[in-house]
């Protein structure tokens, strides 16, 4: 009898112990194995959305890039009364452990990973798939352009300098420990250009029903607009001119009127009529960077730490519509010039998008390319096309030679302020940066001479630590 009890009990335990093997397989709620993530064009489209979302984060185009692009130059400064952000950039005291350098580098490669995955995806080709893959190529090029310009010497200074590592295949557990070395700047540029060429070739001429002429996605001629910027930064004015002309002739983009300029900037939605915006990253009510947004950093309803330099403000004529994008307000009680390009901080139903490339930039690139290649007449046509559109009272530039280049650069400054581009005008042309001191600025370095090491960001210390093949930039 006793033995029977034991047997029964043991049987009961064994029966209960034989839980099904699936009991130990638990899946995450929002994730799927990477191997099965992209199988159809719909999946591919969602991956492209994810790629744009990655690019729009605070630590890439969402805030760090556009802030640094103006702050390291002479358009904005950080108030002494601030939330603790971007002070080392204001004062050029950043070191290898700088947060923004790490953020831009990390998020840049994270975005590139998303693009690599799309490019490598094995999906039967059709027009949609070609368009989507083309966007991934172009986005990858855009990311590498930011990385090579923030972290390496300008091409125009030294094309053989260390650029950034070129990664073109998606990471896997097997490749997670690779330690890629930095490619040369020229190699990175070659890759960028070849990616843009691939993108342009892949994208159907007529576009597809997907992403057709919507500024939230990279369109075929947006690729050429990006390419124009790439060639301009490279100092290859002939090719810059060709790319820009393609946009002007075939892109179907237009400028808004002076009267509508403020309204254009206040509009938080994308455009599908080719008006001004060529490509922007969408931020919506539900998907935005909230307190870490670019808008929140500029707006006096947000942190409002970044203020406009008096120097920039003084450049606008009173009749210039763009002057209306800056207002004389106050920051925490101190009088201040406030950027108003991003005004939807308190708009509960939509948020400001991040402008990546606009038609005005293409016109200015075209003008500058003509000027550098000796065609002053054509340069003036495109320069004045923009300048007179913005300031109806303006009679137009008539300069030549070096003065013409200076005028174009000033026009670029006025037009593209707060879009993160100003700094690269100094670096690609290897010009000293003069940052007149503002009364109420946090500590700020006034003169950034040519050859100053901190004209480029440090490779993040985390990368140096994890990747022994990466060389640090001089001076860090």
């Amino acid at each position: 009898m006793k033995k029977l009890y034991i047997c029964l009990s043991l049987a009961a335990i064994t029966a209960l112990a034989s839980c099904k093997k699936e009991f130990l397989n638990q899946s995450p709620p929002a994730a799927i194995p990477i191997s099965g993530a992209i199988k159809t064009p719909t999946d591919l489209n969602e991956a492209v959305n994810g790629m744009y979302a990655a690019m729009s984060r605070t630590n890439f185009f969402g805030r760090d890039i556009p802030i640094l692009g103006d702050l390291l130059a002479d358009n904005i400064y950080i108030s002494y009364n601030n939330s603790g952000r971007y002070q080392s950039e204001n004062n050029y005291t950043f070191t290898a452990t700088n947060g923004e350098a790490n953020d831009i580098y990390s998020q840049g490669y994270y975005s590139i990973l998303q693009a690599n995955r799309i490019i490598a995806a094995n999906v039967a080709s059709n027009d949609d798939v070609k368009q989507l893959k083309g966007e991934a190529y172009a986005a990858r090029a855009l990311c590498y352009l930011e990385l090579v310009n923030f972290f390496a010497k300008p091409y125009t200074v030294d094309p053989n300098a260390d650029g950034v590592p070129i990664i073109t295949a998606p990471t896997s557990p097997a490749t997670a420990f690779t330690k890629p070395a930095r490619a040369k700047v020229s190699e990175v540029y070659n890759k960028i250009i070849s990616d843009l060429d691939s993108a342009f070739m892949l994208m159907p001429e007529a576009g597809t029903s997907l992403h057709k002429t919507n500024s939230y996605y990279i369109a075929k001629h947006a690729v050429k607009a990006i390419e124009a910027r790439v060639y301009l930064y490279k100092g290859d004015y002939v090719n810059a001119k060709t790319a820009a002309l393609d946009v002007v002739n075939n892109g179907g983009y237009t400028l808004t009127t002076a009267d509508n300029l403020v309204a254009y900037w206040a509009n938080p939605s994308g455009v599908s009529n080719g008006m001004e915006t060529i490509f922007e990253l969408a931020l919506t009510t539900a998907n935005n960077n909230n307190f870490d947004g670019l808008d929140y950093f500029y707006s006096q309803d947000g942190y409002g730490d970044a203020l406009v330099t008096k120097d920039l403000y003084s450049k606008y004529a009173v009749t210039d519509a763009r002057k209306g994008l800056i207002y004389e307000g106050d920051h925490l009680g101190d009088p201040a010039l406030v950027n108003n390009k991003y005004s939807n901080v308190t708009n509960p139903s939509d948020k400001d998008d991040i402008k990546i490339i606009r038609y005005a930039e293409v016109l200015l690139t075209l003008a500058e390319s003509y000027a550098h290649t000796g065609d002053n007449a054509n340069a003036l046509i495109y320069l004045n096309q923009l300048a007179k559109q913005r300031d109806p009272a303006f009679t137009g530039y008539a300069s030549t030679g070096a003065q013409l280049i200076t005028d174009i650069l000033n026009e670029r400054r006025k037009e593209l302020a707060f879009e993160g581009l100003r700094y690269f005008d100094f670096t690609r042309l290897n010009l000293p940066i003069d940052r007149p001191q503002q009364d109420d600025s946090a500590p700020s370095l006034e003169n950034i001479p040519v050859g100053f090491n901190k004209r480029i960001l440090p490779i993040p210390q985390a990368e140096i630590d994890a990747n022994s093949n990466t060389k640090q930039n001089p001076g860090y």
């Binding site: 990664i167 101190d334 990466t470």
Partner: protein
């Protein structure tokens, strides 16, 4: 006859009178060896169901007949049995049990083991000693009571999570919190909140419901918990009913909470001080008189001012009421209780309310089958302000807001304006927020366990156990549209619902074999199977746009713009077989072994199962003949164990490290988006600890004094580390089992009753734990930086790594740093100073010293906690330590110690707008590292026990105890410059949390 009884049983029988031999009434008085009557002694008639308890005078009355055996038992006394003969009056004197160790039982999920034969290192804290203490969770009371158990709160918020480390930090990438078990069930612990600042599910446990807390430390004690035993196990056993007369208890404690005094150096500046420094900072920057006058005007420096620290703090109230009933018969025993607890911290907007109930039923279904059912339910409503650098944090406001930013308008109403320098455009007005925002968590926990024990035959038992651990958190955050975080969204509400459902089932066989049929030599064995599934469910919602003029309509149904509505889940499972066996020879030699095979969904498919074992041995020297020849020790126990345990503690919802995945939710422009979001490691498995422990427990003076010492050496390897990989992969780290560390140390514990006379008793306990943590292996052997720490082989895990401050340049008021560790040269260029690894955040030693003095009815007890050898870092000093953030308020020490004149030797740089040294004067350095040593009088109680008062006895009151209590009355620190309370949590970093409070309460315990 009389003489014989005495000599055999060491018992005094006084007065035996004659009576009839048949069933008769037996009466008598039970006293202790001090002659005082013992109430509530269980008097039972053996082999029957009959039993009574003695009354308050120690008297009992029971019906019995000659030849039957009466058994008298009482905790702490030797059970005495007598056979009824002719008499009817049996006065009994019970002797205090000299061998207290034998009374203590170590009870874990898998059984109860008498401490004498126990081979592991475990501490048992009787629940009685922490009843009614005004702490919101039992772990806070436990601080200083268990050697080796380091408990720190980084916040005085009632209900906030408490950080607990047993024998040092035990992990890098997984958790270091111990495993918590309540009434046998492995529970979800820690902070389960998803929205509010911090919660602690253990705050749902009423201290008055705890019978004991058992801390399992070494391998012999913890290996039975397998992959989750590495960080130790804290077992909370709740009270059970006792048969006999029903006992009713009512306890209450009410009082108030006060601020702990701020160190002088840490007070914010007053209005005039701020004005003086602000103007000085502007002048030093180069402002002229006109500019200063203009700024002074816009900053309101000539107007009224207020003291923000006073405005965000207050005196709060503290109260609790507990009622319990315990009783039953031989067949059914019940313990039921209900409690209410309410505490306001001294920071505005910080409070907690709890109601809870416990029902514990034991029932004998038949002679061989018993049933236990336990239901523990609680509800907590907790309001917690934000912490750290949040602009809405009231403590941040106390330090950041200028005295000239005015809390109230001239008409006395609260100032909600956000533009202008006397209003609130960055740090918000905390008074406005406390009235208009909401930060609340409503936490319901139901923990229910049930077990059926079937005694198959004498020595074989089968136990089936099941438990449900149900936690539901409703969290509501509302930010008003007028001022604060809600302005940019037109008012916003976040409503999260989090539910954890944790189910465990267990089937177990216990067998005891008597070798040769004798109790002298036994083998006990346990084998069982356990399965656990935890299902978490999350709802996250957010809506914006609230009616501006309707401040009461703050639930999201009133919002105009829905932003987010997400549901998610997180599950994990465990699946284990376990066994435990021991051989006991005369309680002299005991050998034990445990084995557990654990499987879990948490780990990679290729390393899903792990085996954990331990062996332990005990030698009770006092059972040896030779031992009796000496008279120094009254008992000596030698024990040692070795074994392996794991650490699968990844927090409560982070279980997918092993998988390489793409995740949805990376939406773009309102459309679905997916990202390659995780690079997984399919080989990932638990961290594994090899634990060695050797301990000796000595008893002196008939065991009135005990001295326990333990040495342990825990070798922890396969540490889970987020191994840095090249950022070009798209990921900063991959989770791998790479590291190793060692925790070793000593624990000493002295307990005893040094003085015990008829009227006066002194109970004391003292413990100290010394731990040394050393990281022994890291990925690639390379140190890595984690905030202000650098984790480096050969050093303590929490070793600070920062530039070494060298004081102020007497010539110009610049901050100076040493260029390197040699401290030979200084520099005023921050970048030129090298970071140096020095000093640690975890204490080298800590412990408690608790004393209770009883004189007649008066009781005085004092609990002291201390810790030493650690340093704390002021993480907000950057903003508060000099002129770097001139428009903020700052610490008092800037006013008193700033550099002002050439040649001055001081440690606070010149106050200048933007700071000295190109704005880097207050960057991270050892300037903000302070000695964290302290001694704190945690608890002081003075009470009077109204014993032997006839009036009360007539009213049926068996106990009436009235007392007053103060907590945190006194803290001695050892760094005169420390600007805040030294208890900042396990990482040593201050975070502008709700400060600890001091309570003054009056309590009353009534027993019926």
């Amino acid at each position: 006859m009389k003489k014989k009884l005495l000599s055999i049983c060491l018992l005094l029988l006084a007065g035996v009178s004659l009576a009839i031999a048949q069933s008769k009434k037996i009466t008598g008085k039970v006293t202790g060896d001090d002659g005082l009557p013992l109430p509530a002694v269980s008097v039972r008639l053996e082999a029957t169901n009959q039993g009574v308890l003695t009354n308050n005078n120690g008297d009992y009355e029971i019906t019995a007949s000659a030849g039957q055996v009466l058994s008298f038992s009482y905790i702490g006394y030797t059970t005495f049995k007598l056979t009824i003969s002719d008499g009817s009056l049996y006065n009994v004197k019970l002797l205090a049990d000299t061998h207290l160790l034998t009374e203590v039982v170590v009870k874990d999920s898998y059984g109860s083991l008498a401490k004498k034969g126990y081979t592991g290192a475990a501490s048992v804290v009787n629940g009685r000693q922490n009843e009614n203490k005004p702490f919101s969770s039992p772990m806070e009371s436990l601080q200083g009571e268990v050697a080796g158990l380091n408990i720190t709160s980084n916040s005085g918020q009632p209900g906030a999570d408490v950080q607990v480390r047993l024998r040092g930090v035990g992990s890098i990438g997984a958790g270091s919190n111990p495993l918590y078990v309540i009434d046998g069930a492995i529970i979800n612990s820690g902070d389960l909140s998803s929205l509010t600042t911090s919660t602690n599910v253990l705050a749902g446990i009423n201290q008055d419901d705890i019978d004991n807390i058992t801390v399992l430390k070494d391998a012999a004690a913890t290996a039975i918990y397998g992959s989750r035993g590495s960080n130790g196990v804290i077992v909370i056993n709740t009270k059970k009913g006792k048969n006999g007369k029903t006992q009713v208890r009512f306890d209450t404690e009410i009082g108030r909470t006060n601020n702990l005094p701020l160190p002088e150096d840490g007070k914010p500046l007053t209005g005039p001080q701020f004005k003086e420094l602000f103007i000085e900072g502007l002048r030093n920057y180069g402002y002229g008189d006109a500019a200063i006058a203009s700024v002074s005007k816009s900053y309101g420096l000539n107007g009224r001012y207020n003291n923000w620290y006073d405005l965000v703090t207050r005196n709060g109230s503290q109260q609790q009421y507990n009622l319990s009933v315990s009783g039953g018969s031989d067949n059914t025993r019940v313990f039921a209780s209900g409690g209410y607890f309410k505490q306001d911290a001294t920071t505005i907007g910080s409070k907690l309310k709890r109601i809870n109930g416990l029902l514990n039923i034991d029932h004998n279904i038949s002679k061989r089958v018993t049933l236990n059912l336990n239901i523990n339910a609680s509800n907590i409503i907790q309001n917690t302000p934000t912490n750290g650098g949040a602009y809405a944090n009231p403590i941040l406001a106390a330090y950041f807001l200028r005295p000239f930013q005015l809390a109230r308008n001239d008409d006395g109403s609260i100032n909600s304006k956000s533009s202008g320098a006397t209003n609130f455009s960055s740090t918000f007005n905390p008074l406005w927020l406390v009235g208009n925002d909401k930060n609340q968590a409503n936490i319901t926990r139901i923990l229910s366990t049930g077990s059926v024990k079937w005694n198959i035959w004498d020595e074989l038992n089968f136990t089936s156990f099941a438990s449900i651990d149900y936690d539901a958190l409703e969290e509501n955050v509302y930010n008003n549209p007028i001022q604060g975080d809600g302005v940019s969204s037109g008012g916003s509400a976040y409503d999260n619902y989090t539910r954890y459902f944790n189910f465990i089932t267990r089937n177990q066989l216990d067998y005891k074999y008597k070798i040769g049929g004798s109790e002298d030599f036994t083998i006990s064995a346990t084998v069982g199977y356990e399965a656990q599934k935890n299902q978490a469910y999350f709802l996250v919602t957010n809506a914006n746009g609230f009616p501006v003029s309707q401040p009461t309509l703050i639930t999201s149904i009133n919002a105009s713009v829905p932003i987010q509505a997400q549901a998610s889940f997180g599950n994990y499972t465990f699946d284990a077989i376990y066994s435990r066996a021991s051989i006991n020879f005369k309680n002299k030699y005991v050998l034990s072994a445990t084995y557990r095979r654990d499987g879990s969904s948490v780990f990679g498919s290729s390393s899903r199962y792990g085996d954990f074992y331990s062996i332990g041995g005990t030698w009770n020297l006092d059972e040896e003949d030779f031992f009796r020849k000496q008279s120094i020790f009254s008992s000596t126990k030698l024990r040692s164990s070795y074994g392996t345990t794991g650490n699968a503690n990844f927090g409560n919802n982070n279980y997918y490290f092993t998988q390489t995945t793409a995740a949805y939710g990376a939406n773009y422009g309102g459309a679905n988006g997916q990202n390659f979001n995780n690079i997984g490691n399919p080989n990932l498995t638990w961290e594994s600890a090899h634990k060695f422990d050797v301990g000796v427990d000595f008893g002196f003076f008939n065991d009135r004094l005990s001295f326990d010492v333990d040495y342990y050496h825990n070798n922890i390897n396969k540490l889970i580390q987020a191994v840095p990989i090249s950022l070009t992969t798209g990921f900063p780290t991959i989770t791998s089992n790479v590291g190793a560390m060692v925790n070793k140390g000593f624990e000493f514990e002295i307990k005893g009753v040094p003085v015990k006379t008829k009227d006066f008793t002194w109970n004391t306990s003292f413990n100290i734990a010394l731990n040394k943590n050393t990281v022994t292996q890291l990925s690639d052997n390379s140190p890595y930086i984690s905030g202000v720490f650098r984790v480096n082989e050969g050093r303590d895990f929490y070793t600070y790594y920062m530039r070494q401050y060298a004081g102020v340049d007497p010539a110009n008021g610049d901050a100076l740093w040493y260029t390197d560790a040699s401290k030979k040269a200084t520099t005023n260029n921050y970048s030129d100073a090298a970071r140096v690894a020095a000093k640690q955040a975890d204490p080298k030693g800590f412990g408690g010293f608790n004393n209770t003095f009883t004189y007649k009815g008066i009781t005085l007890s004092a609990d002291v906690y201390y810790n030493f050898g650690n340093y704390v870092f002021d993480s907000f000093a950057y903003y508060l330590a000099d002129g770097t953030y001139l428009p903020n308020n700052r610490y008092q020490y800037v006013y008193t110690r700033r550099w002002t004149t050439p040649g001055q030797i001081t440690d606070v740089p010149k106050v200048v707008l933007g700071g000295t040294n190109d704005g880097e004067s207050s960057d991270i350095s050892s300037r903000f590292l302070y000695k964290g040593d302290y001694i704190r009088l945690k608890n002081l109680t003075v009470g009077y026990d109204f014993k032997n008062i006839d009036y009360l006895k007539k009213a049926g009151i068996t106990r009436l105890y009235l007392y007053g209590r103060g907590t945190n009355l006194f803290t001695k620190t050892y760094d005169k410059h420390l600007p805040f309370d030294p208890e900042v949590g396990v990482t040593g970093i201050s975070n502008l949390e709700v400060p600890q409070v001091r309570t003054f309460t009056i309590g009353l315990n009534v027993g019926l």
